[in-house]
Amino acid sequence: MGTRFRIKRFNPERDAVPHWEEYDVPVEPTDRVLDGLHHIKWYIDGTLALRRSCGHGICGSDAMMINGRNHLACKILMKDVGRTVTVEPIRGLRVIKDLVVDMEPFFEKYRSVLPYLITHDEPPEKERLQSPEDRARFDDTTKCILCAACTTACPIYWADGEYVGPAAIVNAHRFIFDSRDEGTEERLEILAERSGAFKCRTTFNCTDACPRGIDVTRAIQDVKRAILFRKV
């Protein structure tokens, strides 16, 4: 099966504006979109720039917009994208080259929510106890691989780069609802600000985009409720 790839290309060393290029690629229905991109890079045009590493949806390097929706290129198969596939960089972050965007603003938002366990007492000699039920409360949000697919699918984030974005809220959720954590107040303060959780208009783009199947919108709603009622 041959498939036509339409790829949005931009090299700031050469181009004033982005342009589209097309490639016919011999791929199997069970190949990943990443395999098609590799075929282009390795055998047709080595100048194509993209990020990838693990190739199976765990490292979060290759989030891109495929046929108008955010996916990991290594986790969507050719049989699910049709005979013509368009590939663009994720939106809302500066394009460095082709499919590679500047991730720094994304990680800055992540860091802003204090994404680490905060405790005030000395830890016990052994493990802290946590019931399976308490552990289950934040299980979903521990799956986040920081690929940015959710944040860069969010129309609020496109319009307002100040918005902390779904991924950062997911990672705040992971600690806010962890029975061992004692930093809830601080985090809720941060997320109650203008750039915080209430920017969310529940369009569910983030949930649709998440390659890890995290119920992102629900996590954001949990956080909003925690801010309103000061209770987790």
Partner: protein, 577 residues
């Protein structure tokens, strides 16, 4: 050239590098990574991290140590292994204190599961030793360590590829790195350098390793005259997704999945009567290939099945959600109902840069360190894995020896003055020349074709079963691939995010590491752990109970030296499961 100075530089932001960074936080340090930290391959580890907590049944560090020594076919250094097994409990509690979301027992303790080669009472039967967070334990370790680095405000240089080590009069003085975004070379001057650069599974076609795992750091050390140790020991994980090599965790078998051949037979019972499907990986991989060779691969082809069906949906969704999803996405199968085609996949380098138990890189068989240079994790060989690593032990290795590296470096920094570099020469001139040669060439062959041939050749001739004839052919083919690489040509001649150039450089490292691997395989004329020579099918303790150091000489030839194995508690015995 951009010059920066730090007290210490850590290369690699997987588990070993980040654990060392946490230890050194507060000092002037930099972590340099070719990716973003959370992309590191530690995050791909699935099933668990071993520690004899005894949360679910009786367990002791001595049992764990015995299993590790026996699992490594007695080539492990027992002083290092004792350190690892004793410190393992504290390491797991430390991770928990930093917030790692381990799964819990009904009593709220850290939950543990069975894993290959981990036994109770010196081999009597499987034991629950692997602490887990579903089947994304590595992901949680990587996230937790990165979170601690953020908390401690560690400085990162993301997307910098380290290409050379600075050495002045035998003392390590920093690294040269290529900034992928700008194409600039940076020299990082430091009193101490830690390589925590990971593995190099991309020398093989079917591998669980990410595309980034190409071994530039290990190759850079080798090119600077340092030895590599035990390079003939490369682990093939028995359960890779057929044709793709994506890892399906041993936790699958820990939870009860079994191998099945074309006749529907649970064949591991024949080979390993006690541990059956939980025999160590080297044994399982050989058995899978043996079944295939004897015509019992599925439909006579080169794969067998992993059978999860009796586990049911609940266990799969709760305990093995990620690998259930991999099977669903990449194979279009429901493991709760269908058999899953698997084949062995190149997974882990037991060998690497030799170190002391404090992660100091050594230069010879008498353990003479190179001052200021450290290595930890998969790129290093300390050696706690010997001839075959047990499942889960990569994660304990990176944490114990990442921490030990950080502790030793902290001491070293206090006692040492900075090394002056660059009197009379440019420290980055070698790298600059290498880059310019590739960038300026307009005629030649693409890296992708040479790489594909290398990976296929390594798969055919240097994988689970090895012979003198095959290895000699591999050596000759490698020589011709290297000649072709001398004329490698790229399409992208720009400076900005030039991954075309990067892949060409990566191929240079892959070729060197394949070279060291093939030569070491030819050198060791016995079978032990992951190194199986069909022409020498027995372990030969009289001649080969020793580590092999391989050096690359200026003329490209190899020199071998031998280093004794440290044996303290457990004398070599026949290895049966």
């Amino acid at each position: 050239m951009i010059k920066q100075t730090f007290d210490a530089v850590i290369v690699g932001a997987g588990g070993a590098g980040l654990r060392a960074a946490v230890e050194l936080a507060g000092r002037k340090i930099a972590v340099i990574t070719k990716l973003y930290p959370t992309r590191s391959h530690t995050g791909a580890a699935q099933g668990g991290i071993a520690a004899p907590l005894g949360n679910m049944e009786e367990d002791h560090w001595e049992w764990y140590m015995f299993d590790t020594v026996k699992g490594g076919d007695y080539l492990v250094d027992q002083d290092a292994t004792e350190a690892m097994c004793r410190e393992s409990v504290e390491i797991v509690f430390e991770l928990e204190h930093w917030g790692l979301p381990f799964d819990r027992t009904p009593d709220g303790l850290i939950a543990q599961r069975r894993f290959g080669g981990h036994t109770r009472n010196f081999g009597e039967g499987p034991v629950r030793r692997a602490c887990h967070a579903a089947d994304r334990t590595g992901h949680m370790i990587l996230q937790t360590l990165y979170q601690q680095c953020i908390k401690h405000d560690v400085t990162f240089f993301n997307e910098y590829q380290v290409l050379d080590l600075l050495v002045e009069d035998g003392v390590c003085a920093g690294v040269v790195a290529y900034h992928i975004d700008s194409g600039e070379l940076h020299t990082f001057h430091a009193k101490a350098v830690l390589f925590a650069v990971g593995g190099f599974g991309r020398i093989y076609k079917i591998t669980s390793n990410g595309h980034a795992l190409t071994g530039e750091g290990v190759a850079a050390a080798w090119r600077r005259g340092l030895p590599l140790m035990d390079m003939e020991f490369y682990q093939f994980h028995p359960t890779g997704v057929y044709k793709l090599g994506i890892l399906l965790s041993e936790a699958a078998r820990g939870e009860g999945a079994v191998f099945v051949n074309d006749k529907g037979e649970r064949f591991m019972e024949r080979y390993s009567p006690t541990l059956k499907d939980l025999a160590p990986r080297d044994i399982c991989s050989r058995c899978v290939y043996q079944e295939i060779r004897e015509g019992r691969g599925i439909g006579g082809k080169d794969y067998v099945y992993l059978d999860f069906r009796h586990l049911g949906h609940d266990i799969l969704e709760k305990k093995l959600p990620d690998i259930t999803e991999f099977v669903r996405v990449y194979q279009g199968l429901d493991p709760a109902k269908e058999l899953v085609p698997i084949q062995p996949t190149a997974h882990y380098a037991m060998g690497g840069i030799p170190t002391t138990i404090n992660a100091e890189v050594i230069t010879d068989e008498r353990n003479a360190p190179m001052p200021g240079f450290y290595a930890a994790g998969e790129c290093a060989c300390v050696s706690v894995h010997g001839a075959n690593r047990l499942g889960t032990n990569s994660l304990m290795d990176i944490l114990v020896f990442g921490r030990r590296a950080g502790q030793h470096m902290a001491q070293y920094l206090k006692q040492t003055e900075p090394v002056l570099v660059g009197a009379g020469h440019n420290p980055d001139s070698d790298v600059r020349e290498r880059l310019e040669r590739i960038l300026s060439r307009t005629e030649g062959e693409s890296a992708a074709r040479i790489r594909a041939e290398l990976q296929q050749m390594m798969m055919d001739k240097v994988s689970v079963f090895r012979t003198e004839t095959g290895l000699r052919e591999a050596r000759a083919e490698l020589r011709s691939l290297k000649e072709r690489y001398a004329r490698v040509k790229i399409d992208d001649h720009g400076r900005r995010f030039n991954t075309d150039l990067l892949e060409a450089l990566e191929l240079g490292a892959l070729l060197d590491l394949a070279d060291a691997t093939i030569a070491s395989c030819l050198h060791r004329t016995e079978s032990r752990g992951g190194h199986f020579r069909e022409d020498y099918p027995r372990r030969d303790d009289a001649n080969w109970l020793k580590h092999v150091l391989i050096y690359r000489r200026e003329d490209g030839n190899h020199e071998f030296r031998h280093k004794p194995v440290v044996i303290t508690r457990f004398q070599p015995m026949e290895r049966k499961y």
